[in-house]
Structure formats: structure tokens, C-alpha cells
């Protein structure tokens, strides 16, 4: 994040976002890779025990097991953060809504609830079984929030979507907790997961979810042109020959795959999908061909850095990444509300 933020002054032009020429592409790719690498190395080195850089490569170093343990959560953090950043950018593009985020619009809560139903009612235990539940839950929640917010003359305004999402999340959280209270064993495994954490999950969990993340990401990146056309508005997009319903379905599927898998892997993490696309648009302009891949990278960096900072910010405890994301995200959310003002 810090690395990306440094480039801000260059792009401060009145149109908001820089109309980068083709020659800027290598630069942004280089910055992105540097940010990812930096975040990754920090995540391996920093924590309750600081590890010297040498221990990363030297497998006989006494601290090498620490690095291995941290590698798991770092890779998971990259995957989950990338998925959330991408999902947020897709949602903001699809609903043309600056406040869209899988957490705020209730998608994560839907996935969570469906997974808990699977655990307590159908006795599911493996990640491969949770994932379909999470997808169904995420899709139903997204559709429900959109349907409810669409009532009335003015349709699904950002403000109505956000409040409907919050209402659905609150209700689903109650139902989720009610189910968990009936099943103490599930409650214990759920305790940290529910806060949103990437610690102690293991590679096998990630490997189960990875194919869905890849498919979701490919669908999403292919959808950049669809989003650019949709950004012109429903009527214009149709006038330009797009089949908007099919486009929306493709992007919706990508959102469900990405947000559902991320929730199943790391718990409901909100605000990453909200913050990241705004920062990226500010740096790279509104073209979704750039916004989508950069959002994925920035989301990955944000989650890994948030997780790293969470390990050291309040010793001896560890602040879960879901909580750190809220710490970063709420001020941005409030700033967005202030800036968007009456347009909501």
C-alpha cells in the first residue's frame, strides 16, 4: 500500500485519475510486483518473533519453521485479498455504486449463514463441501439485497443497497449465532473464523478453494470490457450491442465465486472490497481493464499488510485481519459518504 500511495502526486490531474499512456504500463506492473514482493517478505519476517531474512531461504536455520508457518497465511492472504479486491471492483462496476462491497452488501453474511447451515444441519465438515454452500448463500443474499433495494421509483440507489445489505447482514448474523449456540463444537471452530482470519488454515484448505478463485478471476478479468460498457448506463450499453443481461450474469457469477470462496477460506472480511477499488481508480483512472487487475493486486497487498500489522500492533495479542480491515475501512467509508454527499 505504502508503495502505491507514493505515486499519487503524479496523477493528480483535474479529471481524477491519470490518463496513462501505454508506456506507463511497465511502470505500474513493476510497482505492483514490488508491492506484492515487499508485502510478502514483510509478512514472513515480521511478527511476535522477528525472523532474519536469511532464515527464509536457509532451511537449516532454527527459525525456518516460523517462516514456513507464516508462508501459509501469507499465500492465503494474497489469495483472499486478491479475491476481495476484485469482487469489490466488480460490484462497484456492476451496480455503479461507490459503496458496494461484499461485506457491506450482505454477500459475505449470506455465505457465512449458508456454511453454518451446512455444518449444523447437514453435518458437513470439509472445505470442499462448504464451498458450494457458500456460493449458494452468497448468490441468494446478493439477489435478495438487490431485489429489496430495487423496490420503489428511484430503484436500487447506493444508499438503499448499503442499508438493505446491513439489515440483511444483521438478521443473518442473529440466525447464524442461533444455529451455532445449538452446536457448541462448531462454535469453537467458528469463533476465530467469524472474525475473519487467515492464520492457521493450512495449504490444503487453500488448494480446495483455489480453482474457484482462478475461474472467478478469469471471468472477472474477461469482464473488464463489459464493465466499461455498463459504466455508460444500461441504455447506452444495449445501444452499443451488448446483451446486458448476459453480461450481468457473467459478472455476478464471478462475484459469487470470488466473494464466496474468500469467505469460506478466511471468514467474512468486509471493507477490503470497498477501499481498494477507490484507491486504484484514484491512481489508474476509470478504465476497468486497469482497475480490475490492479484491484486484485492491491487487495492482496492490503490483506497481507493488514495481517502483518495486526500481529505487532497490540502485543502480545494478535489482531485478526477482519478487524484490521475494519480499522482501515471505516474511515474510508465515512470519507466516501461525506464526499458523495447528497448524490446518494
Amino acid at each position: 500500500m505504502a508503495v502505491l500511495a507514493h505515486t499519487r502526486p503524479e496523477t493528480s490531474n483535474p479529471l481524477g485519475g491519470g490518463p496513462r499512456s501505454r508506456s506507463a504500463l511497465p511502470v505500474s506492473v513493476a510497482i505492483t510486483i514490488a508491492a506484492l514482493a515487499g508485502a510478502g517478505v514483510l509478512s514472513l519476517v515480521v511478527g511476535a518473533t522477528w525472523v532474519p531474512l536469511a532464515a527464509i531461504w536457509d532451511s537449516s536455520h532454527p527459525l525456518h519453521p516460523v517462516v514456513e508457518a507464516r508462508l501459509e497465511r501469507t499465500v492465503l492472504g494474497f489469495a483472499v485479498g486478491g479475491a476481495l479486491g476484485l469482487a469489490g471492483a466488480l460490484m462497484q462496476g456492476l451496480t455503479r455504486n461507490p459503496l458496494a462491497d461484499p461485506g457491506i452488501l450482505g454477500v459475505n453474511a449470506g455465505a457465512t449463514f449458508a456454511m453454518v447451515v451446512g455444518m449444523t444441519s447437514f453435518g458437513l465438515t470439509a472445505m470442499s463441501q462448504f464451498l458450494p454452500m457458500a456460493f449458494v448463500g452468497a448468490a441468494l443474499a446478493a439477489l435478495l439485497v438487490h431485489a429489496i433495494a430495487s423496490f420503489g421509483r428511484d430503484g436500487a440507489t447506493p444508499m438503499k443497497l448499503a442499508i438493505t445489505g446491513a439489515a440483511l447482514s444483521a438478521g443473518l448474523a442473529s440466525w447464524t449465532t442461533g444455529l451455532l449456540l445449538a452446536d457448541r463444537k462448531t462454535m469453537e471452530t467458528f469463533r476465530f473464523w467469524q472474525v475473519g482470519t487467515i492464520g492457521g488454515r493450512g495449504f490444503d484448505v487453500l488448494l480446495t478453494g483455489l480453482p474457484f478463485l482462478v475461474v472467478g478471476a478469469l471471468l472477472a478479468l474477461a469482464g473488464a470490457r463489459l464493465l466499461n460498457t455498463l459504466a455508460l448506463g444500461e441504455d447506452l450499453a444495449r445501444g452499443l450491442g451488448r446483451r446486458t443481461t448476459r453480461d450481468r450474469l457473467v459478472i455476478g457469477l464471478a462475484i459469487v465465486l470470488l466473494a464466496g470462496t474468500a469467505t469460506a477460506l478466511a471468514g467474512p472480511i468486509a471493507f477490503v472490497g470497498l477501499v481498494v477499488p477507490h484507491v486504484v481508480r484514484g491512481l489508474a483512472g476509470p478504465d476497468y481493464a486497469r482497475v480490475l487487475p490492479l484491484s486484485m493486486a492491491a487487495g492482496a497487498v492490503l490483506v497481507v499488510v493488514a495481517d502483518t500489522v495486526g500481529r505487532i500492533v497490540l502485543p502480545p495479542s494478535e489482531v485478526q485481519v477482519g478487524i484490521m480491515a475494519a480499522v482501515v475501512g471505516v474511515p474510508v467509508f465515512i470519507a466516501l459518504i461525506r464526499r458523495t454527499g447528497r448524490a446518494l
Binding site: 459503496l99 461485506g103 457491506i104 429489496i148 433495494a149 423496490f151 420503489g152 421509483r153 428511484d154 444508499m159 438503499k160 448499503a162 442499508i163 438493505t164 446491513a166 439489515a167 440483511l168 444483521a170 438478521g171 443473518l172 448474523a173 442473529s174 440466525w175 449465532t177 442461533g178 449456540l181 445449538a182 457448541r184 462454535m187 469463533r191 476465530f192 467469524q194 472474525v195 468486509a270 471493507f271 495479542s317 494478535e318 489482531v319 485478526q320 477482519g322 478487524i323 475494519a326 480499522v327 475501512g329 471505516v330 467509508f333 465515512i334 459518504i337 461525506r338 454527499g341 447528497r342 446518494l344
Partner: protein, 359 residues
Amino acid sequence: MTVTVDPGPVATQTPTRDAVEVVRRARRGPVRHRRRLVGGLALVVAAAFAARVLLGDYTVTIPDFLRILGGEQIPGATYIVMESKLPRAVLAVLAGLAFGVGGAIFQTTLRNPLASPDIVGVSLGASAAAVSAIALAGWTGWPVSAAAVAGALGVALVVRLVAGDHGGFRLVLAGIGMAAAMQSVIQYVFTRVDEYDVQLVLRWLTGSVNGVAWSSIGLFATALVVLLPATAWAARSLEVTELGDDAASGLGVGRGRTDLLMFLAVLLVAVAVAAAGPIAFVAFLSGPIARALNQGRTTLLASGLVGAAIVLVGDYAGAYAFADLNLPVGIVTGAFGAPFLLWLLARGPLNGHRGRRAA
């Protein structure tokens, strides 16, 4: 409506006397209706209270109950009534009153049914401060309530600053953001404690009237004895406040009065949270229900009684309705309050057609 204006007699009989009579009846109607409503609601609350104390898994007869209150020791029964059933019921009534009145003040003053303290994060702010004071600083007793008040005021101020003068949408959104932040604080605090007590976590996240000591209930009751009359005094001009700041100033009710009323509402909610946790959606539900029952007019007392009834019934349902499962009241009210909120969003005042009953 009880007001029926029959045009026939007005045209034929002496106009002045009849007009006076019509106005008098029009004025008397709502007052009479309100009295009847408050009386009815008080009966409902009393019945729910009796059911909560006497029925359930351990039935107590009324003579037995009176003997226990008189100080007689009945093996088993005395303990269950005095340590479990009665404190739960008393706390449910008090918390319901405080949330109902506080919520109705928020909704009326901000002129938005969504701007209730539980939705805009004020309850969760109080809860986050209280739980931090207990778990991290080791406080007990009244300092916890003081911390809750500070937390609630802090969130209320931030939300108000962010929303600026045009409350409405921005205020609700800013509140939702603050609520999410406060929830994170509470969850963080609970990752810090060594022993993970599910019931305790749920108390501070969603609210529960279970297992609260008489001493905290006494503290809460004392606070209400001061706050409720003060609120009643400050709420005299509530009907004018409802018209909006400008109209209210024009009618001689300054901004100071509104602010005082909001301050009292924040205090009410905060002390209730310190005792019972942020019981989900009670503050949000009570106002609109009381309003609908009262022909679209705001009444704080009825709203408080509706709140008390909701908490009593919710606690009863949570304790006995689901087999051997003992759900905290906040889970029950959250599970059934959220659909109501969604329904309100689907048809309510946000959609332009401002129905009187929906508002």
C-alpha cells in the same frame, strides 16, 4: 379514526356551536385513544411479566410468588425466582422501556425510522466501551455505566459530525459504518480474554437479560428513575420537534431543546446497554409499532411499553421456545427484527411514498 365529521348537521344547525363541538371532539379523540392504548399496552406488559416470572420450565403459583417476595424460603422455588426469573423479567422491562423511549426519540427527532440507536451504532458504541472497561481495565459497577455513556456519546458525536446538517441518509450510512467498527472492537476484546464465555460475548454483541446481578439492575433502575422523568419533561415539545429544525425554531422550540432530548436518549440507551447489552432492534422496532398502534402519532410512553413487551416476549421465546436451547433475547429480536427492517426498506419512506404508518 375516531374523528367523524358528519357534514349534514353542520349545514343545518347553528354553525358556531357545532364547529366548537367538532373541534373539541377532534382534540379529545386522539387523547382518549392514547390513554386506551397506553392502558392496553401496560396490561400486555404486566401479563408478559407475570408469564415470564410464573410460567416456563418451573411453574410458580401466585400465592407462592407473593410468599417468596415476602421473604419466605421455599426450597428450590425461592432460588429460581429470586436469582433467575425475577431479575430477568425486571431487567427485560427496564431495558425495553429505555430502548423503546430512546429509540422513539432518535427516530422522531431525526425524522427517520432508520435512525434508531441500534442501527446507527450508538448501542454498539456503548457496548464496546463497556466491554473494554470490563475486560481490559477490570472495572465493575457504575464506572462501567459511565464508560458505556462515554462510548455512546462518542459514537453519536462522530455520526453527527460526519452527517453534518442534512441528517437522513448520510447519518444512517455513517452510523452503519460506525456500528461495524464498534463490532470489530468488541470482537477484538474477546480475542484478548483468556476464557471465552459464549454467553458473555453474546451479551455484549447482541444483548441478553440472563444472569445479571441485582446490584447492576439496581444501578440501572436508579438511573432510569432520574432519566425517565427528565425525558418526559424535555419531550413536552416533541410534536413540534418532529416538524424539523426550522419549523420548530419558528414555533419557539430552539435547537437546544432538541439537543437536550437527544442527549437524554443517548443516556437512556447507554445505561440500558451497560445493564443488558445492545439488545438488537428493540429501539428500532418499538417506535414504529407504537406509532402504528397510535394512529400515526408519536408517543414515547407507548413506545417504551412496546419495547418492554418485545424484550419480555423475546426473552421468554428464547428461553423456552427452542427445545433445550437457551437463546439470549438479542438473538431472538435480531432474527425477527431484521425481516421487519427489510420490509420497511422495501415499502417504506425511502421509496418516496411517505405513508403515515410506515414513518
